[in-house]
Amino acid sequence: MDKERAYGTGMWAWLLQRVTGLLLVIYLFIHVWWVHFSGVKTPFDFLINTLFLPGRIALFILLVLVIPHALNGFRVFAIDFGISDKAQKILFWALTVFGIFLIIWAYLSRFSR
């Protein structure tokens, strides 16, 4: 087997998509229950600024789950629209770099203060 064809991106992308997706589904249940069914009236500003102190950690974790899931979703769309096996691999790494950039940028601009 050629070295560059060793096990790689597709399987990890699939696994990442399932893991982040499942965690986001769990989050959605908690979210809908909290804001709609729990009966607690929490002011938005208070919630967004204090959510799971310190450093609004829960909000940041949510962001870390959403960004890879959303970006990888674009890759899955692209595959079904017909990009090749080599292009999807390049796209995976490009989106990974872009996603890491987004997370760092979000952290520096919104969470580090």
């Binding site: 087997m1 060793a6 597709g10 899955v76 595959i79 079904d80 691999k89």
Partner: protein, 252 residues
């Protein structure tokens, strides 16, 4: 050079270790020949051409699906092995020492003896897409084909039916009724062939739950193919054609 080989005698399976004298330019198949000749003549494995043309010697070497004749012992001698198998961390991990070479039969197919697997399920799915030209309805006239069309078909026609992709596919592992990457790549090879008489019929042969729609797009079939056939591209191609056809049917 140590080899750790999974043996199966019809009832029980166990791992056995063999010491092989390494030669220069030795392939894994050569090493298996040496074991069979000098140590244990009961070791069973399948082979034919010894040159990556026939596709008989597909097996799981150091947890990767490869052709034994095409894999050099020197290249994989101190390879690290991922101990988590494709079924996830719940599966029993199989460890190997650093200098050993781990050889197992091809996954997803029933084992007959040692490294010989029953290819029947693989060829059952292969035949389900009927990948052949109907000889009875073919005229004796010359069948012309352009150079560009030949190039398109050639990518998929170079499949040697070794079953490596079937053994690597996680969907085939959990769903034995899934047609598998090789059969679907063959379906696309005939769909794109301009000489093929009824292309729409080919779409109906793969358009069901265990056909093209079961694919997870994990690209492991593309990664293990010794002939650089990309079955996932074929599957997404077939899916696009089916969707276009269904939209046309609605609008008609």
């Amino acid at each position: 050079m140590k080899f750790k080989i999974k043996r199966f005698d019809g009832e029980n399976s166990k791992f056995e270790r063999f010491e092989v004298k390494p030669n220069t330019q030795m392939s894994v198949l050569d090493a298996l020949f040496q074991i069979q000749d000098e140590i244990d003549s009961t070791l069973a494995f399948r082979y034919s051409c010894r040159g990556a043309v026939c596709g008989s010697c597909a097996m799981l070497i150091n947890k990767k699906q490869r052709l034994a004749c095409r894999t050099q012992v020197s290249e994989i001698a101190d390879e690290k092995v991922l101990t988590i198998s494709p079924y996830g961390p719940l599966a029993k991990p199989e460890f190997k020492a650093r200098d050993e070479i781990l050889i197992e039969p091809l996954p997803n197919l029933p084992v007959i003896k040692d490294l010989v697997v029953d290819m029947k399920p693989f060829f059952k799915h292969y035949e389900s897409v009927e990948p052949w030209f109907d000889v009875e309805n073919t005229t004796l006239q010359e069948n012309m084909m352009s150079q560009e069309d030949t190039k398109k078909v050639d990518i998929y026609a170079s499949c040697i039916l070794c079953g490596l992709c079937y053994g690597a596919c996680p969907v085939s592992a959990r769903d034995k009724d899934y047609q598998g990457p090789a059969a679907l790549a063959k379906a696309w090879r005939f769909y794109t062939d301009p000489r093929f008489p009824d292309r729409q019929k080919m779409l109906t042969r793969v358009d069901f739950t265990d056909g093209v729609w079961a694919c997870d797009r994990v690209y492991r079939c593309v990664e293990v193919c010794p002939k650089q056939v990309p079955p996932t591209n074929a599957i997404t191609g077939l899916i696009r054609k089916i969707i276009v056809q269904k939209i046309k049917n609605i609008l008609r």
